[in-house]
Amino acid sequence: MQQNRVVAELASVPQNVGVARLLVAMVAAQADFTVAEVDEIKLAVSEAVTNAVIHGYSGQPDQTVRVEVSLANNHLEVVVADEGRGIDDITLAMQPAVSSDPDRMGLGFCFMESHMDSLEVESSPGRGTRVRMTKKAGSERMARATGS
């Protein structure tokens, strides 16, 4: 059973969204996730880090996004945190198609929620945002097997 923890402080540049995906995928690959599950984790991480870069820091490249991924007993936890502008209304922000930019779809939180087992968002205006997501390897196969 693998235990691991990786903490990265990423400059808030778009290129580091891919770095975060790779990092989390490599830790996830140490557990019993299927390829499809790792893809889902990558998507959730991509959305969370993109939110930090684009919304949290409004595209400023000189800030820091912290990504912490830990693995224990086939249970993956990912925390993405920024010290950016924060979210005024989390409930509203998590609804699909709510986005300040017409070219963006506002689907980030939807994908995080549907692709991970749990999603917690802590944020307040001016105080940054912290997104915590978890996924247990084999949880989808269990759900399918038990018909739940």
Binding site: P14, Q15, V17, G18, R21, L22, V35, A36, D39, K42, L43, S46, E47, T50, V53, I54, D101, P102, D103, R104, M105, L107, G108, C110, F111, S114
Partner: protein
């Protein structure tokens, strides 16, 4: 992981072949190049070949839909070719299949367009 984009105009259609992981970085490039091409020429349909795409997130979806909106007003269609199985669920979840047409190959897409 490296993203590549090849663009070609075939008749009045723009054919774009993409490879790699398509996120906000690829979205910005795609938006920039396609908008520039659409500014310079009247193009009808946008054919996007995703065969070698390994990942796609909502940033890139937004760029696709933004370009679709742009050509849709002139009767153009967004056509997808070779969508990999790993990427289909993301496109489906975003409701993209309500607005795109799919063909198995570029030649089918251009014949049908």
């Amino acid at each position: 992981m490296h993203v590549t984009m090849e663009h070609a105009t075939v008749g009045a259609n723009l054919v774009t072949r993409l490879t790699g992981e398509l996120d906000l970085v690829a979205a910005a490039e795609f938006r920039r190049v396609v908008d520039d091409l659409l500014d310079r020429r009247k193009l009808r349909h946008l054919v996007v070949n995703l065969e070698l795409v390994t990942f796609l997130d909502s940033s890139f979806l937004g760029a696709l839909i933004g370009r679709y909106k742009r050509i849709h007003n002139d009767g153009g269609r967004l056509i997808l070719v070779g969508t990999p199985r790993s990427v289909r669920p993301t496109l489906e979840a975003a409701g993209l299949y309500k607005i795109v047409t799919e063909y198995p190959s570029e030649s089918d897409a251009l014949a049908g367009a």
